[in-house]
């Protein structure tokens, strides 16, 4: 278990006033350095799960260990080992960017208390300037955060959460509320951070393209696990890749497909299920003149939608 950084066994959370549990007996492990995505529709139990893992909310039942510390007995040690980006921004908008970072650094006990930036240790000042450069706010560091754009605020939160060098970085729908351009930009930044610091990332999201890059994806719905695996495996399990072909001489193409014993549907265009076969091989061996060719490689989104639809039946 040395490589396991998050361990969750039969986790249950039932809110006081709720009739059904928000999280209903889920178990999973996250490995050190892994990029792990928790996916699910609204109300699936994602935020509840992440709140329990980050010690903000107490569980009803089950075992949770982070970096080998028990969530009930060693919450303080866990808090030191994790960084969190919340769904709702948790910056103090009346403070400057630097003051927000300093607040964090001080309550994490990284530096001795000094009442102003210029009195803080040189090491701290150097670190802050370096961080400000990374996110491109070097000239805005003394401005109140309320003057920042949504994307800037998110980046500031991410650098802030990294200064105590957490073993696991939790991100609860970090890009919600951002426009597509800032979302993309932030995402690239996060990937860079990950490469640089080799931090374990635990992400919840309902933007599927964000989970597509994850090492493993856990899909939950109505508090229960729907599936867990690599994005490739989930895709493979759920939707077969296919190619779509058409030719002028549809009858000839059809007899070729029949001869190759392929599984297809349609009367031209033909949708051919690959069932693990190589698309290129198939295309190479076809003699008919093709008028249309499309390789349908399903996105995780298709798999996800299919799963959720199945769950709701």
């Amino acid at each position: 278990m040395k490589d396991t950084v998050i361990e969750v066994k039969n986790l249950v959370k039932k809110y006081k006033k709720a009739n059904t549990p928000a999280v209903d007996g889920i178990s999973f492990n996250v490995k050190r350095g892994e990029f792990f995505a928790l996916l699910g529709p609204n109300g699936a139990g994602k935020t509840t799960t992440i709140s329990i893992l980050t010690t903000i909310l107490s569980k009803t039942e089950g075992v949770v260990k982070i970096a080998n510390y028990d969530i009930e007995k060693e919450a303080d040690k866990i808090r030191k080992s994790i960084g969190i980006i919340f769904q709702n921004p948790s910056l103090d908008l009346n403070l400057t960017a630097e003051e927000n970072i300093r607040f964090h650094a001080l309550i994490y006990g990284l530096y001795p208390f000094r009442p102003s930036f210029s009195l803080m240790s040189e090491e701290y000042r150097r670190e802050v300037i370096k961080l400000a450069e990374i996110i491109g706010i070097k000239n805005d560091i003394t401005k109140p955060v309320k003057t920042f754009s949504g994307g800037m605020k998110r980046k500031l939160e991410i650098v802030r959460s990294l200064i105590h060098k957490p073993k696991v970085l939790f991100l609860d729908e970090p890009t919600s509320g951002l426009d597509p351009a800032s979302r993309k930009n932030l995402w690239k930044y996060l990937q860079d951070i990950r490469k640089k610091y080799k931090t374990t990332i635990f992400l919840t999201t309902h933007y599927l393209e964000e989970a597509e890059d994850a090492d493993r994806v856990l899909i939950i719905d109505q508090g229960k696990i729907v599936t867990l695996g690599t994005p490739a495996k989930i895709k493979k399990d759920l939707i077969d890749s296919s190619i779509i072909l058409n030719a002028k001489d549809k009858a000839a193409l059809r007899s070729e497909l029949d001869a190759m014993k392929l599984d297809y549907e349609g009367h031209g265009p033909f949708k051919i299920k690959l069932n693990g076969k190589n698309a290129q091989e198939i295309i190479k061996s076809i003699k008919s003149d093709l008028t249309y060719l499309d390789i349908n490689n399903p996105k995780l989104e298709d798999a996800y939608l299919k799963l959720i639809a199945k769950g709701n039946k």
Binding site: T54, S58, K77, I84, N94, E99, G109, P112, F113
Partner: protein, 260 residues
């Protein structure tokens, strides 16, 4: 331990920094004390028979000073709810510091904020001719500090039972305004009918106000007409109730935060 102290200072400093940035709030906090002392105190003094034996203006001044320190710290603590709604509290609550450090830091910060307001009230008192010697001011300082800390602990207890800023805005006046009158901020409460007497002595603010007056009127002929209890009795009551409010309030607050 050093880490906890650092955290307490950091949280306290944040509250003070926020006060300095919020000029509207600074102005707003002075309006009521000025109205109470300047208009209520002065007009009552001018119209009451001169044989009541003491200056009503000074009486109201000492009362409002203690009341402002107590109430301002209490309502400042309730800003933890505002933080929760802005989600800044998450940043504090996931940090590796004791929950008591969070609350103590918050009380300390709001105490600094209230003491700053107290300075404004004292300046106003000097302006309208309230007799204040340097010696008296030095002695009033610890009494003021106790009023703040006590108000802070009271705030925690109130906060731990409130769910939202809206609830706080609606409920806070109901628990603070009766105390104005029962604690005798602007009305003498030396002799009261039995029911009011019990209620008055059950109000936390009564002891903060009486302690301030006990210090101000020490060794003066008016003392017996105004002051209810001895300084040591007030100090004892405040210290004991402070501890109860602080421990109970913090325990309830943490419990409510985690066990949703």
């Amino acid at each position: 331990m050093i880490h906890q102290i650092t955290a307490i200072f950091t949280i306290a400093q944040r509250d003070f920094t926020k006060l300095l940035r919020d000029r509207a709030r600074i102005l707003a906090t002075f309006i009521f004390p000025f109205l109470f002392i300047g208009i209520l105190g002065t007009s009552l003094e001018s119209n009451l028979p001169p044989d009541i034996g003491y200056s009503f203006k000074v009486f109201v001044f000492t009362g409002v000073l203690a009341q402002t320190l107590f109430q301002s710290t209490a309502s400042g603590i309730i800003s933890l709810i505002e933080d929760r709604e802005n989600d800044f509290s998450q940043e504090i609550f996931v940090s590796p510091i004791s929950r008591y450090s969070i609350i103590i830091g918050k009380i300390l910060g709001e105490t600094m904020v209230s003491m700053t307001q107290g300075l404004g009230i004292i300046a106003f008192g000097l302006l309208i001719g309230v007799p204040l010697s340097l010696e008296k001011l030095i002695l009033m300082f610890p009494a003021g500090l106790m009023a703040c800390l006590f108000g802070g602990a009271f705030g925690i207890l109130v906060l731990s039972n409130l769910k939202s800023q809206r609830a706080a805005n609606q409920i806070f006046p109901f628990i603070i305004f009766p105390q104005f009158f029962l604690a005798g901020v602007f009305n003498p409460i030396k002799s009261l009918p039995p029911l009011l007497h019990i209620l008055s002595r059950a109000m936390p603010m009564t002891y903060a106000v009486d302690l301030m007056r006990g210090v101000y009127y020490a060794n003066s002929p008016e003392k017996n007409l105004i002051v209810l209890h001895s300084i040591s009795w007030n100090t004892l009551v405040i210290s004991v109730v402070f501890m109860i409010f602080l421990l109970l309030g913090t325990a309830l607050f943490i419990n409510n935060e985690k066990n949703k």
